[in-house]
């Protein structure tokens, strides 16, 4: 029983290191995913096909994901890209019903997605 408990504890500790990509290409792919998703959210604000609470909360959650990658970034370029993406998503979250800002954020996130794609190669 004691051995089983220790095994479970060891596995739980091992698992705490899981979930965050470490390789630069994989990190770039994840940043590309976040920026593409953020661009879709921003596009939906522009077309009026969404709700203000959803945009505010979901953009903030995506920004948080980008921020956590910023801290774990394997290269300075990835760190800078993560910072740009999280900044745009925070702006979108803070002004969730501003169509003009959403349009600009969508364009910037589109560019960020392309940069991420290049870095992932």
């Amino acid at each position: 029983m004691r051995r089983a408990a220790l095994l479970v504890l060891a596995l739980a500790l091992a698992l705490t290191g899981c979930g965050q990509p470490k390789e630069p290409a994989k990190q770039a792919e994840t940043l590309g995913s976040i920026s593409t998703e953020g661009r879709i959210v921003a596009d939906n604000v522009v077309s009026g096909r969404t709700t203000e609470p959803f945009v505010r909360v979901h953009s903030a959650a995506l920004a948080e994901q980008a921020r956590s990658l910023e801290q774990a970034a394997a290269t300075p370029r990835l760190r800078s890209l993560a910072e740009r993406i999280s900044g745009q998503l925070e702006d979108l979250s803070d002004h969730a019903d501003d169509k003009g800002l959403a349009n600009r954020v969508a364009a910037r996130l589109e560019r960020a997605s392309r940069t991420a794609e290049e870095l992932a190669r």
Partner: protein, 408 residues
């Protein structure tokens, strides 16, 4: 109409098991990573849970015995206690994740602060369990959870390649990382056979007072309920394969799942998806909360049952109340609910075989079951799925570690 209402138990058990917060994200991740290539796994999982739910519903109807009663008797005190500890940890972790998931769903709907909504979610769940009769809890959460059918409409509106969808129902060699593919296969099977589904289902059958006359109802509940749960899983995967895979999106958030209905259907799709998520996750919270209390009561021989007054079953009532309060405490720490359900896998691999083996043994015991004992077909399926469960139990943790939780 009456017959339709009677399958609520199966629908709630299935919605709780197939589309709880972890499964919502996991199914969408599977579709985003492998398109339609994992659809066959959902079908295998659905058949497995139908086989075992029918079996434990039959045991409940004929012998009046829920699953943990059989676990205690067939495995003895010490092995039974291991099963109880593992299943209580799984139940509790999942319950905490569902309370957090419900708070996130409410937050995406309202924009109010997470911690306030976690408190509201826990209070609402406690109030619903305290006040509503068992049948109405089933109906409210089971049928409102069907708002998730919006994902089936979304999948159609996204115009997937239907021939590729059809190919997905046949196993094929995996593209890319084989270990990640295997991780998703095992994860989807494990999610389909989550132990708390059968704890809740069999105890619910006892709560509803099923007798051998209700065996047809048992079959209808297992087939329709879990069939619907599987259909929702398939819809989520097809939606993700059509929308997220081509865009290179790796879903990790509950909001991303809702986005899958919003893109093709606009605001109404988003609202229906969020409503469905709230009721499905709330239903899963009730499944796990009841399962935790049922298991404790059945193992230690306490009076139990939602249909008894709180004074008639005080320890049972106290158990579910304590579970909700503790789950709220965990949620308040801000832990990621999706991650929490994935960690619950560690403990569910212990509980899986220790849950399903006693069901198979009791369903084969003529002393309990009389002429309702398992036939050859039920036994053949039961044994095959027990082997599948053992494979899941042995490989789940190594694959999780080797693939960095499917990240590759």
């Amino acid at each position: 109409m009456k017959n339709l209402l009677q399958v609520a138990l199966g629908i709630l058990a299935a919605i709780g098991g197939f589309v709880d917060i972890g499964d919502l994200v996991f199914n969408v991740q599977a579709g985003a990573a492998f398109g339609y290539r994992l659809l066959w796994v959902v079908v295998i999982g659905v058949v497995g849970i139908i086989v075992y739910s029918e079996m434990c519903g039959r045991v409940a109807a004929v012998a009046g015995r829920p699953v943990f009663d059989a676990v205690r008797e067939r495995l003895g005190f010490s092995v039974g206690l291991s099963a109880l500890i593992a299943s209580e940890i799984v139940n509790f972790m999942t319950l905490a994740a569902e309370v957090g998931g419900l708070a996130i769903g409410l937050q995406l709907l309202s924009g109010l602060p997470f911690h306030l909504l976690a408190l509201v979610a826990a209070l609402a769940l406690g109030l619903v369990i305290w006040v509503l009769p068992f049948e109405w809890i089933e109906r409210l959460f089971g049928y409102m959870g069907l708002c998730l059918l919006v994902f089936a409409v979304a999948a159609i509106k996204l115009h997937p390649d239907w021939s590729a969808v059809a190919d997905g129902f046949v196993p094929s060699s995996p593209p890319g990382d084989r270990l990640v593919y295997a991780y998703f296969v095992i994860g989807l099977l494990g999610a389909a056979m989550t132990p708390y589904e059968v704890y809740f289902y069999s105890s619910g059958a006892v709560e509803e007072g099923w007798t051998p006359k209700d065996l047809g109802l048992n079959r209808a509940n297992a087939l329709i309920g879990y069939g619907l749960g599987g259909f929702l899983s398939l819809s989520l995967m097809i939606m993700a394969g059509a929308l997220f895979l081509p865009n290179g999106i790796e879903p990790e958030l509950l909001g991303t799942v809702a986005l899958g209905a919003q893109v093709p259907l606009g605001t109404i799709g988003l609202l229906l998806a969020l409503l469905g998520i709230c009721f499905a996750v709330g239903g899963a919270a009730i499944d796990t909360c009841f399962s935790g209390a049922y298991n404790l009561a059945q193992f230690f021989g306490w009076e139990w049952g939602k249909n008894r007054t709180h004074a008639e079953a005080p320890r049972f009532t106290l158990a579910w109340l304590v579970l909700i309060v503790l789950a709220l405490g965990v949620t308040m720490t801000g832990i990621d609910p999706v991650m929490l359900t994935e960690y619950a896998v560690i403990f569910s691999v212990v509980a899986l075989p220790l849950t399903y083996l006693p069901i198979l043994l009791v369903a084969n015991d003529r002393a309990y079951m009389g002429r309702y004992v398992n036939g050859r077909v039920a036994n053949a399926f039961g044994v095959v799925y027990l082997l599948v469960i053992l494979v899941v139990a042995v490989t789940a943790i190594p694959l999780m570690l080797l693939t960095n939780q499917g990240q590759g």
